[in-house]
Point group: C2
Chain length 194, copies 2
DNA sequence: ACCATTTCTTAATCTACATCAAGTGCCCCG
DNA sequence: CGGGGCACTTGATGTAGATTAAGAAATGGT
């Protein structure tokens, strides 16, 4: 049951009373997405944080030559949003799309702010969530600056073993920052070793 | 006077009473660093968030072939820490070094946590600070995936005009992710245009 | 003021990865 | 159950930026 999943997710960092759980869940809005349907598109203002209860989303940008760059995957039990747009309430730069039929729970920015007021534990929770995202983002930047494509691929396999055999290769290629062609070669071990 | 600088910095997001200011400043620990002195080195556990009141620091990692990658510059009025290590309290991956004689105010992790308890506004402040870092880090990742070195250089010039003519070129080269040699060419406009 | 070190420039060559092109297999939808 | 697109592979060629090497200029410590 989806509400259990999100309550357990919160429980990783904060403990809520029964009443607090009820306040929280009343702020949530469930939504179903079909494969290839968008939760958010480029230029839209991001108004929600989304928590995935089943399926999988991807967040990506499109550069000026039309190439897509996957910024994040969100399988179930993950949060996703275009943080830039959510914070600034300016038109965003991400598309968030369902890679398969997916169910999410939406928490609007205004409800999120109400939670901060009403139950300060939520400010604590989202601070920690954001800190962890920051560390992950910085690590990915370090990897992109200092590792080869193959090393990044190996890291990805170690870190996201579940995603690997469940996602189209081109999505993973885009995430680690190579073309599908080069990715295919790497997997086949056809990149020359030294 | 350094305390004013940090209090104004807080004031960007939260308002403190006089007493709260006093509690806060009592938790701070001033420290002076000489040029080339380290605030933190690889393998050390990061115990402090540092706020720069004068001078400039840089945070960088060294990859396995010995190449340095600058992750952040911290001129005065900026916060810096090895977030990975600060959060996990595991040995860190960053070196934080003074690029010139620098003064910082240190806030220990334990004092920071005390502030969260005693004055919840601080949790709010650091949540926002972390959110902004996250957005900046994500943007930098997007840039590194989708822009050429020259475009990243132009962005850097626009975003940090003050730093540009005040930092050694090789530091900027490292930040945008190119060799000093290539950086020099770019600046000279010697990279062939099309 | 001076020397040593570091920083910056310029040039020749090299390489990881991209691009372009073609072909194969497969999966989804009508 | 058939076919049209999409995902993947493989090969030939192109290129942004790295590496190596060397000299010139700037800088800072004594």
């Amino acid at each position: 049951m989806p509400l259990n999943l999100i309550l357990n997710n919160l429980e990783k960092h904060i403990h809520l009373t029964r009443e607090e759980q009820d306040i929280f869940t009343a702020y949530l809005q469930p939504k179903k997405l079909k494969r290839k349907q968008f939760l958010l598109t480029y230029g839209e203002v991001c108004k929600y944080s989304a928590f995935v209860t089943s399926g999988c989303l991807r967040g990506y940008t499109v550069d000026k030559s039309g190439i897509e760059h996957v910024l994040s995957f969100a399988p179930s039990d993950w949060w996703i949003a275009d943080m830039y747009s959510l914070i600034s309430q300016k038109p965003g730069i991400q598309n968030i799309e369902a890679l398969e039929d997916t169910e999410v729970l939406l928490l609007s920015k205004s409800n999120q702010e109400k939670l901060y007021q009403e139950i300060p534990k939520f400010e604590h929770f989202f601070r920690i969530l954001t800190e962890n995202s920051l560390v992950a983002s910085q690590q990915r930047l370090i990897d992109s600056l200092s590792l080869t494509a193959e090393e990044r691929y190996n890291n990805f396999c170690k870190r996201y073993p579940t995603l690997i055999d469940h996602l189209p290769q081109k999505q993973i290629a885009s995430y680690i920052g190579v073309t599908p062609e080069f990715f295919s070669r790497m997997r086949g071990g056809m990149v020359r070793k030294r």
